[in-house]
């Protein structure tokens, strides 16, 4: 299935969770925040939060800023 991740199309497995996608991309869960269709997914829910085709995911972290 396809999801939209940070504005770009990403192919992932059927039944993928937020955790699946983070692992697929090699992103450590520690210092990121995840939004699924504009709702925040708490870190504790990354495994159980399953994704559907067409879901919009945002994964953000901290960068240098003023």
């Amino acid at each position: 299935m396809k999801i939209i991740l940070n504005g770009e199309s990403l192919e992932t497995v059927e039944g993928a969770s937020v955790e699946t996608v983070l692992k697929q991309l090699g992103i450590s869960r520690e210092r990121v925040a995840v939004e699924l269709n504009t709702d925040i997914v708490p870190k504790a829910d990354y495994e159980k939060q399953l994704l559907s085709d067409g879901d919009k995911i945002e994964i953000v972290h901290f960068v240098g800023g003023g």
Binding site: L5, N6, G7, E8, L25, G26, I27, R31, V32, A33, V34, E35, T38, I40, P42, K43, E58, I59, V60, H61, F62, V63, G64, G65, G66
Partner: protein, 259 residues
């Protein structure tokens, strides 16, 4: 008075340094880390952005010791209350802290605050338990409204972000200082160490800057200059300056002059 007896308290947390610094615009992450260290800052601002899907690129947080600093995520680039609130919620989830530097901008040219949207966002965030430090106009009415909403500090600008013009309206800052009881932190506009000292001599609780250090020819030396200026300005404020007089007043005794 020593530095240890003069703590800055924001949102129930104690800080020794009154200099807060941003981490943008540096030449490298190594330079950022060195400048941070030299500045002595304990509160450092960060922006919330999409992760880079190219994992070969490094992250700033790999270079800095997170145990030493309180991260202050900002809402830079937000032009509406909704965007700013969304960014703060993400920041809390990513950083596990309630501290946010709230900025809601009015336009790209001035980067001046949109105070109407700022107040709207501050109200929502305070209700959600955030410790809100708002970047705002140097306007006592807005500052009082932000204080009344429950913001932990107010952060009026000294001059436009990144302009280096210094404290353009020290009288406005003084009026704010006389009328709000939360810490007043000058955020934006500082260009050199003397600007930082002026902010502190006015009685501000702290100064927040980024470009003045990151954009200096030698950012690491400027970080030290800013650290010392903030300490000197604070000491000067606490010590109480002499009144300004139009005419001279000799420092050496007149008695015993040879003639």
């Amino acid at each position: 008075m020593t530095q240890t007896s003069d703590k800055l308290i924001i949102g129930g947390r104690e800080f020794t340094s009154r200099l807060m610094v941003g981490n943008g615009k540096y030449a490298s992450f190594e330079q950022t880390a060195q400048a941070l260290e030299m500045s002595g800052a304990e509160i450092i601002t960060v922006a919330v952005r999409r992760v880079n899907l190219d994992r070969s690129k490094e992250s700033l947080l790999d270079y800095i010791d997170l145990k030493k600093y309180t991260l202050l995520p900002n809402t830079a680039g937000c032009y509406t209350a909704d965007d700013a609130v969304r960014t703060c919620r993400l920041a809390r989830e990513a950083g596990m802290s309630d501290f946010v530097k709230l900025e809601v901008l009015g336009d790209e040219k001035t980067l001046f605050p949109d105070n109407e949207e700022l107040l709207k966002a501050a109200k929502i965030l305070v209700a959600e338990g955030f410790t809100v430090l708002p970047y705002c106009s140097d306007d006592v009415i807005v500052c009082k409204k932000l204080e009344d909403l429950g913001c932990a500090a107010v952060m009026p600008l000294g001059a436009p972000i990144g302009s280096g013009l210094g404290i353009r309206n020290p009288y406005n800052i003084r009026i704010i200082l006389e009328n709000v009881s939360v810490p007043v932190i000058v955020d934006a506009g500082v260009g050199s160490a003397s600007d930082a000292a002026i902010a502190m001599e006015l009685g501000c609780a702290g100064v927040l800057m980024n470009t003045a250090i990151a954009g200096a020819q030698d950012p690491i030396a400027m970080a030290e200059a800013m650290k010392l200026a903030v300490i000197a300005g604070r000491l000067s404020f606490k010590a109480g300056r002499i009144p300004r007089k139009l005419y001279a007043n000799a420092s050496s005794p007149l008695d015993g002059l040879i003639n």
